[in-house]
């Protein structure tokens, strides 16, 4: 399976995301922000970082990159899309996911290993986890507070679209401890923590993040 990883100016974790795809057994295909072609990929990852220097708002400029027009159209047709950290912010700015991410309530950049509870295993990116499974993966953000109005939050909860929730403490003030959500169809998922940093024991707290990529590829994690 060919998995595209987008590089925007200021992306940081595109190489790690591509590596995670390869570790899980997929083929990582680099996609460039200024190139509208998706090069026949079967899925897309929007990686972490500081696209366009986080100017204006995190993800606000990246949303208008040529590659994003193609991704938005393809996502509506069912293309699996995973947004990690800055990628999650881009997905919210592009209205592929509801809500927004604001500065951490602690006013501090948070960088630590974070416990998450997987609450929806019905998405293209989480099928390999057990419902309620707790996983440990790194989080690193300054603007990771998930906010949305009450109606949107209630709708997300009622339809099971809260994919992962912070466990063992909320690191950034996210409403209802929400760490990641999906769209209605379950093909688009965004989360602030970084599963791509937890795919090999050598460089992460464990391999709990591998399940996101293995789920997509349909292989054992």
């Amino acid at each position: 399976m060919r998995v595209g990883v987008v590089t925007f100016p200021g992306s940081l974790d595109d190489r790690d995301a591509a590596r995670a795809v390869r570790v899980a057994g997929g083929e990582a295909v680099p996609l460039w922000h200024a190139d509208p072609s998706l090069h026949d990929v079967d899925a897309v990852i929007l990686p972490g970082g500081f696209s366009y220097g986080d100017y204006l708002r995190c993800g606000a400029i990246a949303r208008f990159a040529p590659v994003m027009d193609s991704i938005v159209l393809a996502a509506h047709d069912g293309l699996p899309v995973l947004g990690i950290c800055n990628g999650f912010q881009v997905l919210c700015e592009a209205h592929l996911l509801p809500g927004a991410l604001i500065r951490n309530d602690s006013r501090r950049f948070v960088c630590r290993d974070q416990l998450l509870a997987v609450e929806n295993t019905g998405t293209r990116w989480t099928a390999h986890y057990r419902q309620g499974q707790e996983i440990l993966i790194p989080i690193k953000n300054g603007e990771g507070g998930y906010v949305a109005d009450k109606r949107t939050l209630d709708e997300l909860e009622a339809s099971g679209r809260v994919v992962v929730r912070y466990a063992g403490g909320n690191p950034n003030g996210s409403y209802r401890d929400i760490a990641g959500i999906s769209n209605e169809a379950g093909n688009v998922v965004g989360l602030m923590p970084h599963p791509e940093h937890a795919v090999e024991a050598l460089t992460g707290p464990g391999t709990d993040g591998l399940g996101f990529f293995a789920s997509l590829l349909g292989v054992a994690a």
């Binding site: 204006l56 809500g99 927004a100 006013r107």
Partner: protein, 77 residues
């Protein structure tokens, strides 16, 4: 050419940690009596006269502000 000013502020119900940090710094500066600060963004646009209000509203609503968390106001200077 015309000058258009767009001001963007977080909605009242959205927490503003930067504003809170400023309130804290004012106390350390020895200034008391400031209870709340809301930080926003101020944009000055030089536009052709042909750019109408609807167009400015659209660019403010789609790019300068995120209506999920922010309100904006427009005035011609």
């Amino acid at each position: 050419m015309a000058r258009v000013v767009v001001d963007v502020v977080l909605k009242p119900e959205i927490l503003d940690p930067q504003g809170q940090a400023i309130v804290g710094a004012l106390g350390r500066l020895g200034i008391h009596g400031v209870h709340d600060v809301r930080q926003g963004k101020h944009f000055e646009l030089d536009v052709d006269d042909a750019v109408d209000d609807a167009t400015v509203a659209r660019l403010a609503d789609t790019l300068l502000a995120n209506p999920v968390i922010e309100n904006f106001s427009i005035r011609r200077a």
